[in-house]
């Protein structure tokens, strides 16, 4: 979209209106509103920490996540191993950091792909012909009727456990949520005057969808995506915990929990260290998503 340099010279014929240059923008108002929401700010901090720790895991890590220190296996926190070690003497702190990379990978790729596909399919269903809408809805509802874990079990039984399979399951099962939301918003926009105005100018359906429908429906979808991230991270951890996702020795929060669970009588530290980031990430994204929803949905704003 083109950005226009604002013309400093006032309009030629309407000086009164030109003088009323807005002293604030709606964006700034929304930013202020967001900053006033303490839980949202807390969520944002947690989310930023999650991203930083995952991206810079090699820098923050004190050990190689696969390096074994047999003499110090199953130890509690020490100066050497900040969060203790597991049954093979691997540094839990470093493994949690690397596990965050897996979580981020699944969350970022899974959520963004299903958001994009869901958005596109939803807009097409909402704007396109009736038969296509019915067909797509049938597909969405069919997918949604499968329990995620059962679908994952079936897929693993066929193809064997892998990270890519986890991603695929996550994407397929979350697409209908986005598509449904995009479709409903598109249906509401379909008969508005500005869409009619674009049609009267000769705009093609693709142009109408991408330039005029998309910016108006994407807001709620982004909020849904923020709230979906913890769900996706939990699915990955859950599947890995069951041994259906990421395979040892790769560190993921799910595998850390799985292995820690087996040695919990010897040391609780792997379970604690694997569980806390999962909880914090979930809380962070949930708070952030709720704060975004409050900011962008004026109907939910307080004081009105």
């Amino acid at each position: 979209m083109s950005v226009t340099p604002s013309d400093p010279a006032p309009g030629p014929l309407n000086p009164a209106a030109a003088a009323a240059e807005p002293a604030y923008s709606e964006r700034r108002e929304k930013l202020l509103l967001f900053l006033q929401n303490r839980l949202g700010l807390f969520g944002l901090i947690l989310v930023v920490m999650f991203f930083l720790s995952a991206i810079f895991a090699p820098i923050f890590a004190t050990h190689d996540p696969f390096q074994m220190d047999i003499p110090n296996r199953m130890s509690g926190p020490t100066a050497e191993h900040w969060a203790g070690t597991d049954q093979l003497g691997r540094d839990t702190y470093s493994r949690v950091l690397y596990g965050g990379r897996v979580a981020l990978q699944v969350a970022a790729i899974g959520v963004s792909v299903s958001l994009a596909v869901g958005l596109l399919l939803g807009m097409v269903a909402g704007y396109g012909p009736r038969w296509l809408d019915n067909l797509l809805l049938l597909v969405f509802d069919t997918i949604r009727s499968f329990p995620t874990i059962v679908l994952a079990l079936a897929a693993v039984a066929l193809l064997g456990p892998s990270l890519n399979l986890v991603l695929a399951v996550v994407i397929v099962t979350t697409i209908p949520g986005y598509a449904r939301l995009a479709r409903t918003s598109t249906l509401a926009l379909k008969h508005t005057e500005f869409i009619l105005a674009e049609r009267s100018l000769g705009a093609s359906p693709a142009r109408i969808l991408l330039r005029h429908v998309l910016p108006n429906v994407i807001g709620p979808l982004l909020i849904l995506a923020a709230m979906d991230v913890p769900v996706v991270v939990t699915i990955e951890a859950g599947l890995s915990f069951l041994g259906l996702g990421v395979l040892p020795p790769t560190a993921s929060w799910g595998t850390i929990l799985n292995e820690g669970y087996l040695i919990i009588r010897d040391t609780p530290w792997p379970v604690i260290a694997g569980g806390v980031p999962l909880v914090l990430t979930t809380i962070g994204f949930t708070f952030l998503g709720e704060a975004l929803r409050d900011v962008f949905d004026p109907k939910l704003r307080k004081g009105h």
């Binding site: 010279a9 014929l13 309407n14 202020l32 000769g202 093609s204």
Partner: protein, 674 residues
């Protein structure tokens, strides 16, 4: 006469992210017992804020700074919430603007009305009887069975009648009507006005009518309060206000009303400028920035209310204060029409647009359902055998009540709705039956303007990208976009720094200018404008219509203007076409149609416009009843159910189009002329 409601020095602020808006400043007026008081003002005048302040239903960010609202011996502004609940509904009740949104969609009228009577200790049966009696009183036929229906089963006019019945159910001391006819057609408006008058006489009710419609106020009210930008600028009896307006704003407002000017003129008066920003308290007179007679004192001091005549008519203007401005007399602040531009030399060649026997049908149910139900023809005709033609430089006004099919006809010409039969030729080329890709190149030459000024602009696009979009769509990228965008800005007098704004940051008039500029971006030959002045204040409406006239003269445009607003259409149209139930009942030159309507429906429409003159109140409602449903068209002449001249022949035989002596085409057995 004692005042039932006495508002004194009311000040109300709104907290906004940009600071406080001083929405009401020192508002004082009285509503005497047994009178109808009208509050007039344009948008932003604070007239609605007054209502919500008296009923204490203001938004959460409002602060009542100071003032009193004495109602029946109590100050409404000092009552507790529990006391207020006894006042609302019981003593003060409100008729809302849009009955569709102010009535519960999931409750029948019986449920809603007996619920209103919850405070009465009568039996359910008595409550129902009272509700039925009230529904009958407001003119709802067969109230015993209709009271069991839901709001969506009522037509707009009936719904508003039911709204009035609900408001009167508790016998309130004060009835507030907030724009009671704005959502209705002229014929319905006349009926509602008549109903309110009758009820006032019968119940000796005290009524406060809030409206921007001067015709409604003149017809209905005894006293008038004129508000501007949060202040009362003039206050007096209805005749005083309409015949001896003393504040420049009141005079300008009256002059801007297109219904007032009886002779046809291309240019309408306007009030230049905008309502001032109320974040800062205005130092001097609030109207000074738009007043043509402004002088030093106006910027320095706020004018006090000056008596104009002995009977309580006051106006806040320095010009009336002999100590400040001797020998001065306020005049209208409306800009007088400029000289007419050179008329565009009309080429009397073939028509620009020629529509013949166009028919648009909508499906009412699926094929299978129609089979099962035994319906042989599951369609309704929204437009039937519509024919019209338009030349370059000409304006054709298409007029009808809501549901007449006028918007559908306009959209069908542009291919936004599919027409089933007939032809529409643009410069001789047939448009019907074209695929959307074949239609595409034609769209450069014809454009449409939509009803809602802000709602017809894509909300997440800047004005600049809205302006460049037509060029992009039609692949005209070679041009210098900056030049084109600036040309469009200048053409519609929109300041260039507006280009980076978004539609919601514009006022209605500014958004309408953007709409005009977009329609004209590619230099089209034909513009179809659907209600171009809907949602605009009278002072702005003139600006837009003048702009459209100027551009027409400059570019030789052909306009098809779709509107229900007859006074406006009259001023700008060369030709008129009147539509009823999807058929054109009369068409021809504008002036003869207005002076001597040939079709009874046209006569009713012309007579239905309330005049902004209290001496021209109508004693009779020009047209009774409502538009029949499209699914159940009357036999013979479709207007016979509402026509006061109808005979047996009209009920049986459908009239053909007949040409009158002056070239008008009328579809009536007994035209009122010749």
């Amino acid at each position: 006469m004692a005042a039932l409601l006495d508002i004194r020095n009311l000040n109300v602020d709104f907290r906004t992210p940009r600071g406080r808006v001083h929405a009401l400043r020192d508002v004082s007026f009285k509503v005497p017992q047994g009178k109808i008081v009208g509050v007039v003002g344009e948008s932003g005048s604070g007239k609605s804020t007054v209502i919500w302040t008296i009923t204490r239903l203001l938004a959460g960010n409002a602060i009542i700074e100071s003032g009193e609202a004495m109602f029946d011996g109590r100050d409404l502004l000092k009552l507790r919430e529990s006391q207020l609940q006894n006042v609302r509904g019981e003593e003060i009740s409100i008729v809302f603007q849009d009955p569709m949104t102010s009535q519960s969609p999931v409750h029948s009228y019986r449920q809603q009305m007996t619920d209103i009577l919850y405070r009465r200790n009568s039996s359910e049966n008595d409550k129902r009887k009272r509700a039925v009696a009230m529904m009958r009183r407001v003119g709802i036929p067969d109230p015993e069975s209709r009271i069991l229906q839901y709001p969506h089963q009522f037509s707009g006019g009936m719904r508003q009648r039911a709204g009035i019945a609900m408001a009167l159910l508790m016998d309130p001391m004060l009835l507030i009507a907030d724009e009671p006819t704005t959502a209705l057609d002229v014929t319905m408006e006349a009926q509602i006005i008549h109903l309110i008058q009758e009820l006032q006489a019968e119940f000796d009710a005290t009524i406060m009518v809030v409206s921007h419609n001067l015709g409604l106020i003149a017809e209905l009210c005894d006293e008038v309060i004129v508000m501007y930008a949060g202040e009362v600028v003039e206050n007096g009896g209805v005749r005083e206000i309409f015949h001896n307006a003393s504040h420049p704003y009141t005079r300008a407002l009256l002059e801007c009303d297109p219904a007032r000017e009886l002779t046809r003129s291309r240019f309408l008066p306007t009030i230049p400028g905008d309502v001032p920003d109320l974040h800062a308290r205005p130092l001097g007179c609030v109207f000074s920035s738009r007043c043509t007679q402004v002088f030093d004192a106006c910027h320095k001091r706020q004018p006090a209310a000056q008596p104009v005549s002995v009977d309580g008519h006051t106006a806040c203007c320095h010009l009336l204060d002999a100590t400040i401005a001797p020998n001065a007399r306020p005049q209208a602040a409306a800009a007088t029409p400029r000289d007419d531009p050179p008329e565009f030399a009309r080429r009397e060649e073939s028509a620009l647009l020629d529509v013949k026997d166009l028919r648009v049908r909508f499906r009412t149910m699926g094929n299978l359902k129609a089979r099962i139900k035994g319906v042989s023809d599951p369609f309704v005709d929204a437009v039937l055998h519509a024919s019209l033609s338009l030349k370059s430089g000409e304006t054709l006004g298409l007029v009808g009540e809501s549901g007449s099919g006028k918007t559908t006809l306009g959209r069908a010409i542009l291919g936004l709705v599919t027409a089933q039969e007939g032809s529409a030729r643009f410069e001789g080329k047939e448009l019907m039956g074209l695929t959307s890709s074949e239609f595409m190149p034609m769209r450069q030459h014809m454009a449409m303007m939509f009803q809602d000024p802000n709602g017809s602009l894509s909300p997440r696009q800047t004005i600049r990208s809205l302006f460049t979009e037509p060029f992009e769509i039609h692949g005209l990228k070679g041009r210098n976009m900056d030049d084109e965008v600036h040309r469009l800005c200048d053409m519609v007098s929109l300041p260039r720094n507006f280009l980076s704004r978004y539609p919601h940051e514009l006022s209605g008039g500014q958004a309408r200018r953007v709409g005009v500029a977009r329609a004209l971006a590619l230099n089209p030959k034909l513009i179809i404008a659907d209600e171009p002045t809907a949602g605009l204040d009278v002072s702005v409406q003139g600006e837009i219509l003048n702009l459209m006239s100027e551009l027409q003269a400059e570019h030789g445009l052909g306009y098809l203007i779709i509107s229900h607003n007859l006074p406006v259409v009259r001023h700008i149209s060369d030709k008129l076409a009147i539509m009823y139930l999807g058929r054109l009942v009369e068409r021809g030159d504008c002036d003869p149609i207005f002076e001597n309507p040939a079709h009874p429906y046209t006569e009713a429409l012309v007579g239905g416009v309330p005049q902004p003159d209290p001496d021209k109140r109508r004693s009779l409602v020009s047209i009774e009843g409502e538009v029949p449903s499209l699914t159940n068209r009357p036999s013979g002449c479709e207007f016979h159910t509402r026509c006061k001249y109808a005979t047996d022949r009209c009920r049986i035989e459908r009239p053909e189009e007949t040409m009158l002596g002056d070239g008008r085409v009328v579809t009536c057995h007994f035209p009122l002329v010749n």
